[in-house]
Amino acid sequence: MTLTRVTPPDALRTMPESASTVANGIRAVGESVSDSQEAMASRGAPAGWKGSASDAAENQFTQISGDLDSAVAALGQAATAMDAFDDTLQKLFSRRETLVEEVSAFNRKVDAYDADVAASDQEDAEAQEALKARYAELESQVAALQGRVDSWNADQDAADAAVIRALQAVDTVAEGDKAAADPDRPDAAALADRLQDKVDAGDPEAVAAWWATLSEAQKQALMIHSPELVGNAGGIPSADRDEANRTSMLSDIDNLTEREKDGQLTDREEDRLENARDAQKTLDGYKDRINPDTGENDAFLLIFRPDAFEGDGGVAMSLGNPDTADDVTSFVPGLTSEATSLGGNMDSMERLMQLADEKNGDRSVAAITWIDYDAPSSADGMTDNPLDFLQVATQDKATDGGERFADFVTGLRASDQGSQAHFTAIGHSYGSTTVSHAATDQVLPVDDMVLIGSPGTGSADHATDLMADGNVYVGSADYDPVTLLGGPGLGALGHDPSQADFGAHRFEVDPGSYRVQDLLDNHSSYFNQDSTSLDAMADVVAGARPDEVDGRTLGSYQTLDTLATGSSLVSGGEKVWEGAEWTGDKISDGAGWAWDRAEDAGSWLNPLD
């Protein structure tokens, strides 16, 4: 007797990601039209222009404003329809995966049955009876399983039909007018005011609770009207923040590109456009990355403030949904970081995320790069050389950044779903000072803290000043000069957390090159592939404790002056081997020249006084 195999469900014709992309595009257009409508509504005939022509102009403005408002209403409904379609597709996707697993397993049973039948002894009555029993059992399951597959296929057809109907309902001018006049139409401006009040009150839990009460139409209207407000508000779910921020980003790119073509961009608009394009490029770099558990795109734009910090911009992006991940980490980079630094920092986060994911079993990971503070950068005359560090060695920007970072983390805690995630804050270089200020000056709700390449911890003199339970992990390369700035007698940015008396858990870091020209690279070595520091940080993110090494004590490490002179001489020695004209005297001369230049520079660099 031949058993029928179950036919798998059809392929999902539209992936949720595609619907989400379309919805983002609709909202972006909606935001542009909404802005134009508001501008038109507030514009009258110029003062002093009177008479019938002026009246006609006023009437025209009113007419255009009304037409634009109808378009906004229509786009709002279309975005709501696409968002609902997206939700339906996600459910269909999930159901399909379950069905495929079941169908696949069932058909394997049928294959095994067929093989056993073929190999069975026809004369063995007992074996034949057993096969008959298996046949009966399998046959009883075929119809039910195939029925569920057929039902899924029908549901997919119904979802397509529903979204087509919804979009067709707002595809004429008359339907747009009707949508605008709908008494149930959300009042986007009033909703924006209410959200702004809640954001200003600094209570992301209240924001989260209020957001949960909104209808989908209200959320979409708000995202079209004020995407920057929604996208950057702590407490709003990360998926919604991502949608709102992508809306802002696309709208900026569309509008500013047009102004760019016309040669009308101001300097600030140029910065805004550059930041928007960079964010889009970084997001596009992850368009082939899915969450392997849910199938959704794995990149979330959590902060998008392209105008912030006099054009440097503020941005935060996550790989993995921080609201649903079990282990979340947020990284604060240091000197010269600005919005356009996002891509490179995400590369480092991806490396960390993959390693942590391999260490934490079935738990999921989200890794965030947060650059929403005014890190010392080119605007301050910075290059990427720590020499500049001496010029900006104040804690002001770390203090301000610490407040912003604490707010960001608190917001994510409010939007967390399910059991509270294990959260690790990581700061590098000046970013470690910023994270330290977040912990000492604010409430920073994290479980673990990692400080790497730290020049100092602000006002914290001990690990327990940062984390009450002392869960502070420190990575400091022996030949990273920046980590020596917080040593005894120095400390313009605070205490070196790798000192033994600080009481942190110090993990092993490759010491780095001893050549003076490589010291800067040592400061940027902590995320190197296969490095001990990357492995240790992945341990912390995964909720484990890395191996510890002794903290620094006087005599156990090279101080800054010892490192500087020692590495300079070593580098000069290499020159001897590489060039016949170099002699010991030349080395001495070279060191003397450098010393002279240093003294010249020292006359105008007094940051450590």
Binding site: A11, L12, M15, E17, F93, S94, R96, E97, V100, E101, A105, D284, G285, D288, I290, N291, P292, D293, G295, L335, T336, S341, G343, N345, D347, S348, Q354, E358, D384, P386, L387, L390, P481, G489, V516, Q517, D518, L520, D521, H523, S524, S525, N528, Q529, L560, D561, A564, T565, S567, S568, S571, A594, R597, A598, E599, A601, L605, N606, L608, D609
Partner: protein, 167 residues
């Protein structure tokens, strides 16, 4: 304190004169990128066929990413990737099917678990991370020692299209 300040500046000036990076780049990134793309274009469809893929996230993409960290990356690596978004076999079968496809194509499988398969071939690394939602596939070139200017030039390039045929 004065001497300390001067020493710091000595060090920094010398680091400036040394340009702070590798001395001489020894890799030819264009060739390495091409090798990586070619390997990905060969092995991704093999895995797709093994798991009866019905859709991919796209026709595949490739781009350079930094090694190390900002603001002074130590090198760059080329990453070619795509995601298999729908299949006709259950995800519980992925490890066995992926491992088998890789082995048949000459890849040496290093790690294989219920959610991850890692393999290597000709200096390239393949990573397949999967679950009920699909499969992330990537082939990476490994980090190349490059000058800072070259790293910026490569990472600024637009993403390459691997041109994979959709099932």
């Amino acid at each position: 304190m004065g001497r300390m300040k001067v020493v710091v500046v000595v060090m920094m000036i010398l680091s400036l004169s040394g340009c702070g990076g590798s001395d001489e780049p020894d890799a030819r990134p264009d060739e390495r990128a091409e090798v990586t793309r070619a390997a990905a274009a060969e092995v991704f469809p093999l895995i797709g066929k093994a798991v009866e893929a019905l859709s991919y996230s796209s026709t595949g993409g490739g781009a350079w990413s930094i090694c190390g960290m900002e603001p002074s990356p130590s090198g760059a690596e080329y990453v070619a990737e795509v995601a298999v978004t729908q299949t006709n076999v259950g995800s519980s079968q992925y490890p066995q099917l992926i491992e088998s496809a890789l082995t048949s194509a000459g890849w040496k499988v290093g790690t294989s678990s219920s959610e991850l398969v890692k393999a290597a071939k000709d200096g390239l690394d393949l990573r397949a991370r999967f679950g009920a939602g699909g499969i992330n596939l990537s082939v990476t070139s490994g980090c190349l020692d490059l000058s800072k200017d070259t790293i910026r030039e490569l990472t600024d390039k637009p993403r390459d299209d691997l041109g994979l045929s959709l099932p």
